[in-house]
């Protein structure tokens, strides 16, 4: 499998993770789970985006594009 396919596939997996967490979050909200669990799910989603989509780790890398 090419490097491009692997990178594109990773994007799909992250999106599926985000979608599942959003559905969980939605029902947690409907069942009034409260602040802490809902914010925990939101922070988990944010962490996924920051790491896999925003590539925060590149800040510490020497490589260019």
């Amino acid at each position: 499998m090419s490097a491009k396919s692997i990178a594109l596939r990773q994007g799909v997996y992250v999106f599926i993770g985000l979608a599942i967490l959003t559905v969980i979050e939605f029902y947690m909200g409907l069942w009034e789970w409260g602040l802490a669990p809902l914010m925990l799910v939101a922070l988990l989603k944010a962490a996924l985006v920051v790491h896999f989509y925003m590539h925060v780790y590149r800040l510490w890398q020497e490589e260019s594009h």
Binding site: V49, F52, M54
Partner: protein
């Protein structure tokens, strides 16, 4: 003589490569510092929400909130796909991904401003839209969604500029900082909404 000239050209090229890598590191750091400074702005709005609303929230349309969140998450998927495609020199997938992101961002804006704010005069699910004058609920809701909507709007302009540059062939697999910057900014706008969504729609008892 010829070898000396070739060596000198190599040195010159290496210097340029190094300077591009150096510039890229600085650009990345600058953009992340900008995002970090924005965290304080959105964090202040979030603090206002929890201070003024406490364990309550306005009775907003849940389907619309979920739809807006889903649209923004899908747009993040597409801009990531576009950036990945460009980093591998796939111009066609890049352009399609950027355009999909633009359309989805526009849909999000229409959903929030047009329907949630009631700019189209349409009531969804029997919910009369919240007004900015509706006490602390209206004030905080419009401050949070308004500030976010401005960022979505600037993100859309950014996407259009990068798409147009890409169409002209200004980016390559090796040099596409503009694409990366646009993607980081758009994802940041998404991250803000990821935190705002439960704060506005899910946490607390609807009043």
């Amino acid at each position: 003589m010829s070898a000396a000239v070739t060596g000198s050209q190599h040195d010159h090229a290496d210097h340029h490569e190094l300077s591009y890598a150096h510039k890229l590191r600085n650009n990345r750091l600058g953009l992340w510092l900008f995002c970090f400074s924005e965290v304080f702005l959105f964090g202040a709005l979030l603090a206002a929400r929890f201070y003024l609303w406490g364990d309550t929230r306005p009775d907003l349309d849940q389907a619309l909130g979920l739809a807006a969140t889903s649209i923004l998450l899908i747009s993040s998927f597409f801009i990531n796909r576009a950036e990945t495609a460009m980093s591998h020199g796939d111009q066609k997938t890049f352009l399609r991904g950027m355009m999909a992101t633009f359309v989805l961002g526009l849909l999000f804006l229409i959903g929030v401003v047009g329907f949630e704010w009631g700019a189209f005069g349409i009531e969804i699910g029997g919910h009369a839209p919240l007004r900015p004058t509706d006490g602390v609920y209206g004030a905080v809701f419009y401050a949070m969604t308004g500030m976010h909507a401005i960022h979505v709007l600037t993100g859309l302009v950014f996407i259009l500029i990068v798409w147009n540059n890409g169409r002209k062939g200004l980016y390559t697999a090796e040099k596409h900082w503009g694409v990366e910057a646009c993607a980081i900014y758009w994802h940041f706008v998404d991250v803000v909404w990821i935190i705002f969504y439960p704060a506005l729609y899910l946490i607390g008892t609807a009043v």
